[in-house]
């Protein structure tokens, strides 16, 4: 395959940044998208040009590190992570535009690399059960209906990549935040701190500068792990319920 790549280059956080066009040839349809980027970077390196920086690690769709905005879609045209996207999803001669995630709460570090520390801080605000190591009951003393466990798992499967934020016109982090709130709200282990968790995580999300949700569903449509919009509804319910009952507000 022969392709034209339009890639966002930005030297560092304070640089203005711009698109640079790179022609590339000899790409096999079996390559993953990131392997295609590897080929480009090898060519750039041999020519003595700075390789395009992008985040990636596990390359099997689970670590959530890769984060490219390809042709107007986070992780490209398929509902998967960029590392699991293969060149057979593109056609010969195509022009591919590659940008970083765009969101005020995800500042660009360099080229296609962004800082997603805001997600960590949302989890730090309450995305856990307050138990110390040791002194917990036997695992089978907490029976959980299979349906509930499965549903909680569906929320827990979020990989924290940030595609939901990148897809949203408001750069809202509701899908990410609600997935964790939902997981713990559904499970018996999460009941004790259910209200304060919703309050604190939502407050942190707002502090980080993520936008509000206007129910367009773009996040769900682009989520590589199929996290459902239902989570946002559940989070809203949790939050409103907390704001009525909680002593913290």
């Amino acid at each position: 395959m022969k392709l034209t790549l339009k890639i966002w280059r930005q030297k560092n956080a304070s640089d203005k940044g711009a698109f640079v066009t790179y022609p590339i040839d000899g790409i096999s349809t079996d390559m993953s998208f990131l392997e295609m980027m590897d080929v480009l970077n090898e060519e750039l390196a041999i020519k003595g040009e700075d390789p395009v920086h992008f985040d990636h690690d596990c390359r099997e769709g689970i670590c959530g590190m890769c984060s490219l905005y390809i042709n107007g879609h986070p992780h490209g045209p398929q509902q998967t992570t960029t590392c699991q996207l293969h060149m057979r999803s593109f056609s010969d001669g195509e022009t591919i535009t590659i940008e970083p995630w765009r969101a005020a709460a995800f500042p660009v570090v360099k080229d296609l690399v962004v800082d997603r520390g805001s997600f960590d801080r949302i989890i730090q605000a309450g995305g856990y059960v307050n138990v110390n190591t040791g002194g917990v009951p036997d695992a089978n003393e907490i029976p959980i209906p299979k349906r509930v466990a499965d549903e909680a798992f569906d929320s827990a499967t979020c990989i924290g990549c940030g595609a939901c934020v990148a897809a949203c016109k408001n750069a809202s982090a509701m899908l990410f935040t609600s997935a964790k709130i939902s997981q713990l709200a559904m499970l018996p282990q999460g009941q004790v701190e259910r209200m304060s968790r919703a309050e604190k995580m939502v407050a942190q999300m707002d502090d980080e500068g993520f936008g509000a949700c206007t129910n367009t569903g773009a996040c769900e449509a682009e989520c590589p792990k199929g996290i459902s919009l239902t989570n946002i509804a559940r989070m809203n319910r949790e939050y409103f319920s907390a704001s009525v009952k909680s002593e913290n507000v």
Binding site: G48, Y128, V131, T133, A139, T157
Partner: protein
Amino acid sequence: MILDSKSPIGPLAEKWTKHKFNSKLVNPANKRKYEVIVVGTGLAGASAAASLAELGYKVKAFCFQDSPRRAHSIAAQGGINAAKNYQNDGDSVYRLFYDTIKGGDYRSRESNVYRLAEVSVNIIDQCVAQGVPFAREYGGLLANRSFGGAQVSRTFYARGQTGQQLLLGAYSALSRQVANGKVKLYPRTEMMDVVTIDGHARGIVTRNLITGKIETHAAHAVLLCTGGYGNVFFLSTNAMGSNVTAAWRAHKKGAYFANPCYTQIHPTCIPVSGDHQSKLTLMSESLRNDGRVWVPKTVELAQKLRKGEIKPRDIKDEDRDYYLERKYPSFGNLVPRDVASRNAKDVCDEGRGVNETGQAVFLDFRDAINRDSEDAIRARYGNLFDMYQQITGENPYQTPMKIYPAVHYTMGGLWVDYNLSTTVPGLYSLGEANFSDHGANRLGASALMQGLADGYFVVPYTIGDYLAQIGPAPVDTNHPEFAKAEKGVKDAIQKLLSINGTKTVDHFHKALGHIMWEYCGMARNAEGLTKAKGMIQELRKEFWRDVKVLGANEELNQTLEKASRVADFLELGELMVDDALNRSESCGGHFRLESQTPDGEALRDDENFAYAAAWEFMAENSPETLHKEPLVFENVKLTQRSYK
């Protein structure tokens, strides 16, 4: 130096309890005066950092990823073992201990393995309390599946994403301590060196990957939870960033490196498809519960398959060789990983491989789908089947998967005693980064168990004994050793940047990977290993003469990061070859062609090799010194491992 394993004396089942009682304690008010550095935030690192912070220690946690949640433990698929005996099928702590010792081909330390089995039950309790959504039965209790090398069902799982769920559990515990101010987090920060003062580990040197700033951090103890070194092979199932740098630099500061030649080649991975390939993808071993492994009985049929003249479904049952079921009737498709991998290599070497390259065997779900329905199989392995289809473009519900072995895990690592302390006092190593527990071959679903055992339930006890002895006097980075280590790191970076040669870092990494896979992979012999040693030495020289590392230190520079890691792999590779040469027996994942039984199984030499080989770094480009820790078996009888 004599290697003292510090294994407690007394009956096996009482060792850990007794040892905990005999360990000194740090009183709660004093704990906050101690600082502990944890490098790596995978299962071992995150669980250790969280647990130590809960106890009251001041913790600094470092990872090279942008968030601790991305450590490569996240990618573990199949499950985690624990001797709960929830299935009433005869499991016990002793049986898990025995299976692990035997699975490791009698090359691990009895006391450590027993402790691992003992605390395995606590891990499951801990994870459930954190809200880890394990698979459950309709009655609401936990479900189990079986895994290779065991005849009981003791593996707990969360679909095919068990590592993810366990890591997110540990990450949540860690995040909670960050919020409490007990852990300070340093993401996108790479450890570049360990600082030792008077023989004790007293801190580390790091590089901020965004700004390039070289910094020093002091502590009373340093924990290396930095994973394995499988990426020395370039192609492996490891994440792209997984590296040996932290462990290797510690090694050069005095920590012995044990059994580096023990690498696990996982039998069920997606085969290599071309030169562009950057990594190999694992298909969980749990698939062998329902998938049947086969190749055609004849080379002729295999050739027709390779040319695309026939489809796998066209081959009748009587023309298929379900070779694992045939050779190992009692374990069948669930033989341990080393046995499954070697057999796949053998049938492909005979010319019966099934893809274009001839380097693949089938993993077929036809019979399981006919027996249990497609929906049942989808419920068990849906995400794995999707991933397979995504990568290969083939639908495994309709046509058998093609699989081939790939480098997956390294049993070798920093030598540690029963306390998980390396040979440098104050320097600990946890999880895959150490050499303990798995011997010469790790059983499936045991890596997650070991990482969490070390972090949640072992090091929080053993570190107290050391800290109580050295006392809580404050530490700082003013000692000249810090400045010296910092300068060493800066000089090494400058050297890499100044070569300005003609070949890329990946060029050298791939070349090293080829050498390792060819001569130090699934089958090894003295001739090949000797050749490989020379080739690695040459390649290393060429690297330092001709590598091209662009850019500067004072910026995000992924080429520089890679170059610095590959430089360490180039040194480690040679030590792996030395270790493989020295161990002229076969055991577990280390298969020396010179040492096999008449029917081609690994043949151990217990008289001469029942020891852990711990290597001591002497000087740059000099041979390392071998120290032997004899392995004493008081409870199990060493036998020829048989899964027939």
